[in-house]
Amino acid sequence: MSFFSFAWNWLQSSSQWHGAGGIPIRVLQHLGYTGLSLLVAALIALPAGVLIGHFGRGGFLVVNLANAWRAIPTLGLLILMVSLLGFSVLAWLIPLVVLAIPPILVNAYEGVAAVDRDLKDAARGMGMTDWQVLRKVEIPVALPLIMLGLRTGAIFVVATATIAAEIGLGGLGRYIIDGLATNNYGEVAGGAALVVVLALLIQFAFVGLRRLVVPTPLRAMARADN
């Protein structure tokens, strides 16, 4: 039997869809971990990236630091946090936030830093203050990249939140870890399939969100670029 038939058989059994350990509850838990981690990471990384891009200092440091930052193994950090902090919210929140910071930071920085000088000069010439240039010109122009960073961060987190089950948390990783422990391959395959579907739905949600927040002329520009 292939992976897909295993997954399909498991998903079809109606007992998976009810109760505290049922699929709907697990999906909601998974989205909860993802949403909170992404929110905290964005609150840290977006202002930092935008400001560094705006002032144009420390860019070299950001790119290299962010790359070194990616080296931190999320699973190891998660397990370390549990052994240091016990089973608190911070134990899973810190590793997932750490994971989501580099793509959000680097894209926000590069988006703002890459805004055309002439465009900023024109904005200043029209009488905009520094703050207005940032808010009305640089950030809107950088939005396609900022959204790309958030999307990448979200995909990282939704895919990696599965390992939170290793420390006894819920979410869709529960099925993968429990299935591995009990040699129930159907459960593992079903859980994996659900995470993939969820990640794809998040990708589509971000495509929609991008349509909503990125100004129309910039969307046309980004298309011409590709």
Partner: protein, 222 residues
Amino acid sequence: MNWPQFWQYTAANALLGIVPAVAGLAISIPVGIACVRWRWLYGPVLSATSIIYAIPSLALFVVLIAYTGLSNLTVIIPLTLFSLCVLVPNVVDGLRSVPEPVRQAATAMGFGTIRRLVQVELPLAVPIVIAGLRVAVVSSISLASVSGLIGVASLGYFFIDGLQRNFNEEIYAAIVAVIVLALACDLILVLARWLLTPWSRKPGGRATANAEGAQLLQEQSA
């Protein structure tokens, strides 16, 4: 602490991280060249790689156990696929960053399409390609440790073992080893870029892309 085992698993982790980045590069270069040559190809390729990227590493490992068992391939194949998401766009961007005047100058000097690609366009794309390769190798060394969960030998084993035996030093040591390993590879790539792009380290700071291309052509014809 079992040090012989620790070093053995560190080496295993290095292999599980480096092989996918190199394999990913070997796939990305022809794919990237094709995407530059036939523009319509790039959109679908980009969508495909980003969909693959959305699959959790653990899930992909588990899927592959059914086909490749608990071998290194079970870890190397998913990490190779992930690396494509970073590497293909960088190869394409790198090739597109070659200025048109440089391309025309090469043609005027009698370079054919293939020779121009190999001797002019690919070398000029090196900085951008290596920037992607740095992200790819660091990520895959870090991600390779997740394979500890399915029982493939890697530094991730010590995370799980440390948790089960309540042995924090083991977890610290493994985290530090992953980071050091990744940073060492990162450093080697920075060095490789320096060695591969002699025209970009002339005194007087950064040259323009056109000047770099002219420098390269001069060296090639000498």
